[in-house]
Amino acid sequence: MAKFRGAIVVDTDRCKGCGVCITACPLGVIELAKEVNSKGYNYSFMANPEKCIGCASCAVTCPDGVIKVYKKAL
């Protein structure tokens, strides 16, 4: 059982949908949305939020710094 639960908040309007965060996530939390933002990018979002442990791998690899990471001990 995970000792932490995490969550990310993506600034969807600034996300460029490069997908780097998806490969960076060790637990398959993130996917690209079917919808696009105002620039026409499919932005990333937490598709499987229950799996997130707040490791921040997505955020530290995000070239545009659009991901905020939250982490709570259980």
């Binding site: 639960r5 995490g6 969550a7 908040v9 600034r14 460029k16 949908g17 490069c18 997908g19 780097v20 998806i22 490969t23 960076a24 990018y41 939020p49 707040g54 490791c55 921040a56 791998s57 997505c58 955020a59 530290v60 690899t61 995000c62 070239p63 545009d64 710094g65 659009v66 991901i67 905020k68 990471v69 939250y70 982490k71 709570k72 259980l74």
Partner: protein, 269 residues
């Protein structure tokens, strides 16, 4: 226990990561997935963590990062193509108490600015040089860089970079090992090669950049030189994720990661 909701987690006290406050609100103009953004982010984090934002003066290059000055909330000067090490020298010599860093790409640092790079390193200026190497000219549309790999296709080597013709007559020349070269100079204190394609590499790279700034802050003489092997998915003509894979398979054998020199001592591998 399973009752915990996203709202419970997304609370200010649980925030563990957000982009540095030393980045302005301006959106990066870089292509999706470009390593420049990541490198900008970690430099800003380092400056913030070291508390040197009031003492730092950055030098932007000509190349994709030409407008880096718009993104960092610290004083910045924009250099002519390749001249950033001369600018850094100019500032550091008259303001030895300031923290001065250059941010340059491969064309800027290793082609048009080779003389400035070599001589700033040879004088051992007490500065930090950040060198982003993606083996191609990004801003002008994907032409050959000094660090372009052998066989690599670019707009000016459409059939692949061919250092020499079959009979040995010169053609495009070889990938320039500029980082190895500056490591040979007595003026460089710390020379390292890093990458930012995954989280572990980003964390290592940040440590290296931090050291490169700390050395300068502590008035340890000598150039602190951090190469970051990065991507250019647009001009490599692949997705960001594929570019990061390609980088590992093709760039890293030629430009292997790790410290090359520390405390003026070459590290033997």
């Amino acid at each position: 226990m399973s009752e915990i909701t996203l709202q419970d987690i997304i609370q200010p006290e649980n925030l563990v990561y957000e982009k540095s406050k030393l980045l302005t609100d301006k959106r990066f103009h870089y292509c999706p997935g470009c390593g420049h953004g990541t490198v900008h982010r970690i430099i800003a984090e380092v400056i913030e963590e070291l508390g040197i934002d009031e003492e730092t003066i950055g030098i932007a290059p000509v190349g994709c990062a030409v407008m880096a000055y718009d993104y960092f909330d610290v004083d910045f000067q924009e250099a002519a193509h390749g001249r950033a090490p001369a600018l850094a020298t100019g500032i550091k010599r008259v303001w030895p108490n300031k923290v001065v860093f250059t941010y340059q790409g491969d064309g800027d640092l290793a082609a048009i600015g080779t003389a400035e790079t070599i001589h700033a390193c040879n004088r051992g200026e007490n500065i930090t040089m950040i060198f982003v190497n993606n083996g191609i000219y990004g801003m002008t549309g994907g032409q050959m860089a000094p660090t372009t790999l052998e066989g690599m296709k670019t707009a000016t080597t459409p059939y692949g970079r061919k250092p020499q013709w079959e009979d040995g007559t010169p053609n495009n020349g070889f990938p320039l090992q500029i980082t190895k070269l500056v490591a040979q100079l007595p003026g460089t204190r710390f020379v390292t090669r890093q990458a930012v394609y995954d989280a572990a590499k980003v964390r290592n790279c940040k440590k290296a950049i931090k050291k490169a700034f700390q050395n300068q802050m502590e008035n340890k003489n000598g150039v602190n030189f951090v190469e970051i092997v990065s991507n250019c998915n647009s001009n490599w003509k692949m997705s960001a994720v594929d570019a990061n894979k390609w980088l590992q398979e093709n760039m890293l054998p030629v430009y292997p990661l790790g410290d090359i020199k520390d405390n003026f001592e070459l590290i033997n591998k």
